[in-house]
Symmetry: C2
Subunit: 381 residues, 2 copies
């Protein structure tokens, strides 16, 4: 059996849940009066006063904060290593003066959780890696801090924590998106420390994109989650490209959630629109186009998770970035089965099946995507 | 040489240009005082009072309305047959009382143009199809008419025009999107008459999706065109799916612009989100999920143009719908070369190259995608 590494798996550590419980505005956690699972109100659209607080938002059961549930999930699905990351919206909303302390607290908590789990599973560190569950973590960043230097310092500090591998970030950056030049020190620190950035959506698209709030909610969360999330990621990385981030920081390593949102599929159209944009081509314009092509960035800077639930997405990811840049993930604990049974999660088995179907001609490639690539890229051992 | 059919190629017929010249609100045409090409102000964001009218919007040269320029373009790029369609925003903005008359006028104009070109090229209809330029057309629909019956009648009337093949439509439908139940008579008429619907974007996404108007315009039209357009198409067809249009009209045939926007890539995520949506799964909910899967619809109802500018997009389209449902197109006269020279258009040659690279192992498949599929599906001869 190949080593299986899950690089897209989230937690809300207890300290984070406690902080959300103390809040009264989005995002916040509400404990229902009937001892049911706490409710997480994460989106403005979920904070609907016409809905009783006990039913508002979504239930977050122990799979979100109890690491033993994560370990059981790993065991059930044959996952050897999980690289856990704080779930959205991370620390985007924290008061500036508290950003640093919360980032340090959360990241230390993640480090301690990994260290304890790994020690408990194998006190002498003598068991083979494929015969136990091992945890690593991606750190959260204090992006709302008053000075990007705070972010830079935390990126550097994370390199001193033995179980931390990379950082996770949303698309708002310092609040103005990822094409904000004020982020340059952050890109510089990530490049200098050779830290993988996991770029993940949270904000989606405005309801108007889906026909307004009524049209959006008519189908539950399908439109925002299935289409809004991937487009948010695509827009964010395209703005980085257009503003020249990859020209200025050619050593950046970015793992894009959900196989790049839609980046592999739209890469050709993005490149064509750049080459046909008068603002970029006309001499003397105050904005110049990016120097590096989308194709070059996809094969040099971008890694893609394999969380795309089908062969078409994987074929596009393969053609755009290559099988050596594609990494298995689950998005656990999101998308649990709704049948109330204890079977394997279809959201996981669908991705296993898609990987096997796409790379059926090479078991080595399947093994690379399932874990070999992640182990190599993140130095997991 | 295989037969080459361009199924994605637009015109603004003279009558349509004249109508736009008479308008003072978007969309409208303004003739600059210096005898330069007319300016088309098609988007609200282009109607910027701070920009002189002579520079507002974009220039629309003779390639948009002079059919001899289209024929020269076909000759230059080896295209044997073009299936021309009215460019966006079609008749979406027409006063209700004038919708029927404008639809009939435009469609009769398209029929007359095709008939004249085809007669001039081959008066006795004796030359082989691959040794002349032949035109067919897709009709426009009077969607703003006071009664959908007007649309239904025009769909039926189009079947009597010898050079009309299918219809083109945007994503607003009767004004409320394509999941509006009031469109059912239209879907019924398309199914009953076995008419191909070419679904094409125009409205894009709200500027807020890209970080607001300043962030959007910073990169010219790249973000709205490269990302907004494809997402608009994806959202529109997903709303059709979620509302059960394909369950109620299983015989619909829809050609999606730009290889489906992003539908092939996101199909797996859409299907997963549907299967994990409590609103669909929970018993007694007032909305039920669609009965047919995305995968079934992609292989039964959907056709995809091959206007995606790269192998990754084509690989996804192939895996989602199959090479027998993929059709070459150019998007002419949009995306002209900006170098001022008379060479082949990179926006066309990029798609030729991508098709050849994706299907290099089978010249038959290349021929199917370049023209065989279109000739079969649209009965072009």
């Amino acid at each position: 059996m190949p080593l299986i590494v899950d690089i897209h798996t989230h937690v809300y550590p207890p300290a984070y849940m406690q902080m959300l419980r103390a809040r009264k505005t989005v995002p916040y956690v509400h404990d229902p009066s009937n001892n049911a699972d706490p409710r997480l109100i994460i989106l403005s659209s979920d904070d609907d006063p016409s809905i009783p607080p006990d039913q508002r938002g979504r239930p977050v059961d122990s799979s979100y904060w109890d690491i033993s549930v994560k370990l059981a999930f790993m065991r059930q699905h044959g996952i050897n290593i999980s690289v856990i990351s704080l779930a959205n919206p991370w620390l985007d909303f924290i008061e500036p003066g508290e950003a640093q302390i919360w980032a340090e607290r959360i990241n230390d908590d993640l480090e301690a959780t990994c260290a304890k789990v790994n020690k408990d599973a194998d006190p002498e560190n003598t068991r083979p890696i494929d015969q136990k569950e091992t945890l690593f973590a991606m750190g959260a960043l204090p992006l709302s801090a008053p000075d990007p230097a705070v972010v830079v310092n935390e990126i550097k500090r994370l390199k001193t924590l033995p179980n931390l591998r990379g950082v996770i970030m949303g698309t708002s950056g310092l609040g103005k998106g990822l094409d904000d030049a004020a982020l340059d020190p952050v890109w510089g620190a990530l490049q200098e420390t050779d830290t993988l950035l996991f770029l993940h959506p949270h904000y989606g698209l405005p309801d108007e994109a889906f026909g307004g709030p009524d049209a959006t909610s008519r189908y539950g969360h399908v439109l925002p989650l299935a289409l809004g999330f991937p487009l948010e990621t695509t827009i964010a990385v395209t703005r980085m490209l257009l503003s020249g981030v990859f020209d200025r920081f050619p050593g950046l390593k970015i793992l894009l959630a959900h196989s790049g949102g839609t980046l592999p599929f739209l890469a050709g159209r993005i490149e064509s629109c750049i080459l046909h944009e008068r603002k970029f081509v006309a001499a003397g314009g105050d904005v110049q186009g990016p120097r590096r092509s989308v194709w070059d960035v996809l094969k040099t800077n971008i890694y893609l998770d394999a969380v795309v639930y089908g062969k078409p997405g994987l074929e596009a990811a393969l053609a755009a970035s290559g099988s050596d840049r594609l990494l298995f993930g689950t998005d656990h604990p999101f998308f649990p089965p709704l049948d109330g049974k204890d079977g394997d999660w279809p959201s996981v088995t669908t991705n296993y099946k898609a990987i096997n179907a796409t790379f059926e001609s090479s078991s080595d490639t399947v093994a690379d995507v399932l874990g070999g690539n992640a182990a190599r890229i993140l130095n997991l051992k």
